[in-house]
Assembly symmetry: C2
Homo-oligomer: 212 residues x 2
Amino acid sequence: MLEPLREGALKGVRIVLASGSPRRSQILSHTGLPFEVCPSTAEENLDPARYADRPGGFATDTAGLKAREVAQRLEPSTPTLIIGSDTVVTLDNRLFGKPRDAEHAAQMLAQLSGRSHVVYTGVWLIRLDPALSRPRTLSFSQSTTVHFDHLSEAVIRAYVASGEPMDKAGGYGIQARGATLVQGINGDFFNVMGFPLHLFGRKLYELYDASP
Amino acid sequence: MLEPLREGALKGVRIVLASGSPRRSQILSHTGLPFEVCPSTAEENLDPARYADRPGGFATDTAGLKAREVAQRLEPSTPTLIIGSDTVVTLDNRLFGKPRDAEHAAQMLAQLSGRSHVVYTGVWLIRLDPALSRPRTLSFSQSTTVHFDHLSEAVIRAYVASGEPMDKAGGYGIQARGATLVQGINGDFFNVMGFPLHLFGRKLYELYDASP
């Protein structure tokens, strides 16, 4: 989808993913765009309580903290695109981030069991170019609904013991062992995994005034 | 999801995937079950015209051809589970298999462009056990709806040139570069990739009279 952009407006542009998530790197590699990884060191200190009615805003604003920190640190002198991203899981107006420990992960999974929840991933793009008078930014979020099967205690215990839940919003990874827990989804699979691949492509054309 | 079964009824059972698809191996590995791969050599000669009103049946019956061929060839003397699987793409009551060549792939993609289609994957399970008087089989299919973005000629040309469409039903791979073409799905992502992971888990409990 992004080949015309890669050979056009993005030619020679340095692309920086401001996230250390191996899953986001994997997804972004599907675009065929060359990029480097520079994890943000920004403090993720937004108050979830202020975003109770707009969880997508929480993800987008956190993505903005990450992207801006990397943009300021790199201070690039050549055309550069910075990509920040953040993912949250929501159920009954509560935001689920990464679990604190194994018990917290098991609690999260027990709450998700047998129900549908919504995953929001926010993205913040910064286009830096000496030819532009100022940086151009574009931000957006996308939601995907995930339908969980009923999980027995034995299944939750075994899954938590695998260690997989620990670094993942909501306590599961839809692209690995956690895949077996999910009956189906409504929306973009990669958004659940941590990056809204298709919408990112569309927005990238917009940011560079191009068309696919 | 399958840990209780792995430590229970499936303990010591040899598991054979009757498919050479690297994607199916990858998906099956998410279950945590140990398995070996033995690609079927069965001739896939079913007449699509006879399945026009039930594409899931075409996929399931083709999966059956594969599983039975491998079961007959191996003639196992210890408890064994054979897994056959087949995937088809359908649009307007037509079945799309793998493209014959690059031009055929481009035609398929042009037809899918800007529309929603349905992917069916059929699975055929054979449980062989000397303790049983005869093999037990269980078959099923699952459908997932896939929403394609509008694809320009340039995008189709670049994607076909990447070589990715050639060995895939419908001419695209949702888990790789083709991911950027897809706006979203309704159902199990892995079913589109080639194996209905979640439903397989459920059915496996059924085949071995166990509960998760």
